[in-house]
């Protein structure tokens, strides 16, 4: 009886501890973000106030209005940046996922000579410092006329993302037991059907997380984009953030407003793709 009660108290305490820790962790994650959102609605005076104004007194849409306004009055071509970012990120993510799925499947399922070295070789392309890459890339792109085009950036981002989409997808395909696909083939599926009907749904978690990573990487990439874009025709949103800085001052309000606009699509996409991350649950019982 007494032991039972003790056990219940301990369980309750652990539950509370779990809740409190989770709450603190989530707060740390959220506060800097909330600060950005909040500042996008505040005038510069209040953002830079000292002592700081923790509880906002004056919320308005001025920063957004200025951002969408005429160029002379602090406006920036936001919609153009937004469309550019969207086209470039979505296309490059889709290509990176397809290429990564092919490559990841090859590494997970086939045995061949020099596999480890090819794998490491592919990964190392990601190790090249952006600075060493950006100038030669600029020269090559200039020679081929791809500077300031969507295609140029899409190519770069696919190359940037492929190494780790391969690595991730390979990791998840390995978690899928070979027996599953073999069973499907015995039941009369072709290899192709076995892949799409059996292996792919099970490894979907990996593909989904690789997709999120690839999208966020290309959506947020700055260094190479700032090199390879020239005009509003291809500038992406992270490059657009720079429109709010001048040599000595930063327009915090405007920058935060653009940042909010930048985060919203990423947030929506991540939330939508989230549910596929659970796919890994389904095959827990298969391996005996």
């Amino acid at each position: 009886m007494n032991e039972n009660l003790l056990y219940r108290i301990r369980a309750r305490l652990l539950k509370m501890l779990h809740f409190v820790t989770l709450f603190i962790a989530m707060s740390i994650i959220c506060v800097p973000g909330l600060w950005v959102v909040l500042n996008s609605f505040r005038p510069t005076v209040e953002i830079m106030a000292k002592p700081p104004v923790w509880v906002p007194g004056d919320l308005n849409l001025d920063n957004y209005r200025a951002m969408f306004g005429a160029v002379g009055e602090g406006g920036v071509p936001v919609l153009q940046y937004f469309t550019n970012s969207l086209i470039i990120s979505v296309t490059s993510t889709l290509i990176a996922i397809l290429v990564g799925m092919a490559g990841g499947y090859a590494f997970a399922r086939y045995r061949f000579k020099g596999k480890a070295s090819i794998f490491i070789g592919l990964m190392l392309t990601r190790a090249v410092p952006g600075v060493s890459l950006s100038l030669p890339l600029f020269i090559v792109m200039a020679k081929t006329g791809l500077i300031d085009t969507h295609i140029g950036l899409i190519l770069v981002y696919v190359a940037l993302n492929v190494p780790f989409t391969i690595w991730l997808i390979d990791g998840f395909f390995r978690q899928v037991p070979v027996e599953l696909a073999e069973a499907a083939e015995i039941d009369g599926c072709t290899r192709w059907q076995a892949f799409w009907k059996v292996e792919f749904p099970v490894a979907r978690a990996g593909v989904a997380s690789a997709g999120i990573f690839a999208f966020l990487t290309s959506w947020n990439e700055y260094a190479l984009a700032s090199q390879l874009t020239r005009s509003t025709f291809s500038k992406t949103m992270p490059v657009g953030l720079r429109d709010f800085t001048s040599e000595f001052t930063i327009n915090w309000g405007g920058m935060c407003a653009l940042a909010v606009l930048m985060i919203i699509p990423a947030l929506i996409l991540t939330f939508l793709v989230q549910k596929h991350l659970i796919a890994g649950l389904t095959f827990g019982g298969v391996k005996g």
Partner: protein, 298 residues
């Protein structure tokens, strides 16, 4: 007529190889060549003068280079380990939640949605000694009555960069480890419970081996990203004050673009690539070892 049919693995890998050759390998060869020349952006004709390994020798003898090298390794080691531990903790916390987990997972990935350049600006403001949030919070709480120069003092600036780096990347670990946690089979854990294992024992001997491959994948990806990332540091301190937070990438970036010594910058870049090669091979080995324990290697 005999027709050559390439093996399936080769066909599957071909797209990846083509795109990486076109976008990475060719520019890389160009910059490798330029590291053997005194190439300066301001004088294009210098690209055609061959000076052998002069740039490499210069970098090898440069104290600034090795200081930045060491500082980069220090940042890499501290950041990766702490991010991994915190990511693991966060993943375990979220994994335990039964209600509203999907929303929590989205919140957990919040920092990943912030562009590194934005993270740089954001933490530059947060750690500002005059109007920054950290100082104001400390002063309001009465913990400090002077303005702490977070980004101006050498040691503190390094710490501030570390905090920004960790804030922005812990969720990468968390989400990968969480995906790994979903893939852990239930049966062995239940069997262990029946056999009288404590929660710690079943975590240590069943769950952890299963998520180890995911941890190594995350470590490998992050080590490469940290070793080449640039935006956060460049915006927050740009290597200053007085080179106290100078890391490899700010040093290389400044040498290449501000001092316009592209050849020298590329030589430093190639020496530092060995760092990345080391980390990649190290984590790859670890990953394979963790996998063969689970019977998934090969």
């Amino acid at each position: 007529m005999s027709r050559f049919r390439p093996p399936p693995w080769f066909v599957l890998l071909l797209p990846a190889i083509i795109i990486l050759t076109a976008v990475v390998l060719i520019p890389l060869l160009l910059s490798l060549y330029s590291s053997f020349t005194p190439y300066r952006l301001t004088r294009p004709e210098t690209l055609y003068k061959w000076i052998g390994t002069f740039n490499y020798e210069k970098a090898m003898k440069s104290a600034h280079f090795w200081a930045a090298f060491g500082r980069t390794i220090l940042l890499l080691t501290i950041a990766l380990n702490l991010e991994m531990l915190m990511g693991l903790g966060l993943a375990l916390l979220v994994n335990k939640v039964t209600y509203g987990q999907r929303a929590l997972r989205t919140v957990m990935m919040f920092p990943m949605m912030f562009s590194p350049i934005l993270v740089g600006f954001q933490f530059k403001f947060i750690f500002n000694d005059n109007v920054g949030l950290v100082n104001n919070a400390l002063q309001s709480l009465g913990l400090s009555n002077v303005a702490i120069p977070w980004l101006v003092d050498g040691q503190l600036a390094f710490f501030s960069i570390l905090v920004a780096e960790m804030w922005s990347s812990t969720s990468v670990f968390a989400i990968l480890i969480l995906a790994g946690l979903f893939a852990v089979p239930r049966d062995p854990i239940e069997a262990a419970k029946v056999d009288g294992c404590t929660p710690w024992q079943s975590f240590r001997h069943i769950t952890l081996p299963y998520i180890m491959p995911f941890i190594y994948i995350a470590l490998a990806i992050r080590s490469l990203d940290v070793a080449r990332a640039y935006d956060i540091v460049q915006i927050m301190t740009n290597g200053g004050p007085a080179r106290r937070t100078e890391l490899l990438w700010t040093l290389i970036g400044r040498t290449g673009y501000v001092d316009a010594k592209m050849g020298y910058a590329n030589a430093m870049g190639y020496i530092s690539i060995f760092l990345a090669i080391f980390f990649t091979i190290y984590f790859f080995r670890k990953l394979n070892a963790a996998r063969s324990e689970l019977g998934m290697a090969g």
